[in-house]
Amino acid sequence: MAAHHLAQLNIARLRAPLDDPALADFVAQLPEINALAERTPGYIWRLQDDSGDATALRPFGPDVIVNLTVWESVEALRTFTYRTDHLASLRRRRDWFLPMETPHLVLWWHPAGTLPDVAEAAARLEALRHNGPAPEAFTLRVPFPAPAPSALP
């Protein structure tokens, strides 16, 4: 097994509450999109609560939803994001989400076999915001390779 997996956080500021008709299409598609992610090769994990998604978790503010996932590789995440029906949702994101002044997506390499938490994800996003893309916190547009496996056992 690879020593590191790719962790991914993205956040989105809702135009309206999730039960508002303006968000109905997004809410309706969510189970499909989550299922699509789960069957995309290279998918490992996503943050969810008892409802099966993470939309009730609001650590970034009352109107900011969170998506925290783990993948085998940047390529796997890229394929899901841009080369599946997820692309259709991405095209419509402005119907549902407000633009954000600071980065809303961050990637980093996480030790395989453990799971990232929201606090760490928030710190990574903050690092990206302050330093720009770097090995500790980067983007799909400017990716960095996984750390080389340690020579020690």
């Binding site: 599946t84 692309l87 994101r93």
Partner: protein
């Protein structure tokens, strides 16, 4: 480099070889090119290698099954991913497009972008769809399921860096053109597919 690369296409026979290769979905060997263009194999190989040297074609090796040379890896050629553009005097519209794309994302102006693309598509509309798509650089072909697929994305570089934005723009442009278009992203090629109006069944 780009001027030299495009200069390599000035020779009509070499250009015919290039056009034969790029029209194929799969990499091709020199024998197929020789037969397709109607020249000898040595001459075909000569032009293929010149095109590869100029960066217009990329090469790979694969074992051929059956026929002469079976089992021996054959050198295959396909269109290079590199883009060649020449502008005199120098202009850099890709850099401009990248900046504009970043601004659209920052402002959340995607709906305005799609609307503008749809209007531009309508201005470009006219004549039969397939020749129009060809003129616009999409390299369309109809697959076995009567779906028109686009072998080339005219906005490839920007679609790589800003996929959500550019695929959305492309969809709107093609809708504006009068096509029955939808997003249908696969592992490769353009993310937009069109429904053919020539359904035979």
């Amino acid at each position: 480099m780009s001027l030299e690369a495009l200069g390599a296409l000035r020779e009509p026979l070499r250009r015919a070889v290039y056009e034969f290769v790029v029209a194929r979905a799969e990499p091709v060997g020199r024998n197929e090119v020789a037969d397709g263009v109607g020249i000898g194999r040595t001459l075909a190989a000569f032009h293929l290698d010149k095109l590869a040297e100029a960066g217009l074609l990329d090469t790979s090796y694969a074992k051929r099954s059956g026929g002469p040379g079976a089992g021996r890896p054959a050198k295959l050629y396909h269109r290079s991913d590199a883009e060649h553009a020449v502008s005199l005097p120098p202009r850099d519209y890709r850099l401009l497009a990248t900046v504009l794309a970043a601004a659209v994302e920052r402002a959340g102006a995607e709906p305005a972008l799609y609307a503008a693309a749809r209007e531009q598509g309508a201005e470009l509309a006219g004549g039969d769809l397939m020749p129009r798509l060809t003129e616009l650089g999409y390299e369309p072909y109809e697959d076995a399921g009567h779906t028109i697929r686009l072998r080339n994305c005219p906005f490839h570089a920007l679609a790589q860096s800003h996929p959500g934005l550019v695929c959305g723009l492309n969809l709107a442009l093609l809708e504006g053109l009068g096509a029955d278009a939808r997003l249908d992203p696969g592992p490769a090629g353009c993310c937009v597919a069109l429904t053919s109006k020539n359904k035979s069944d």
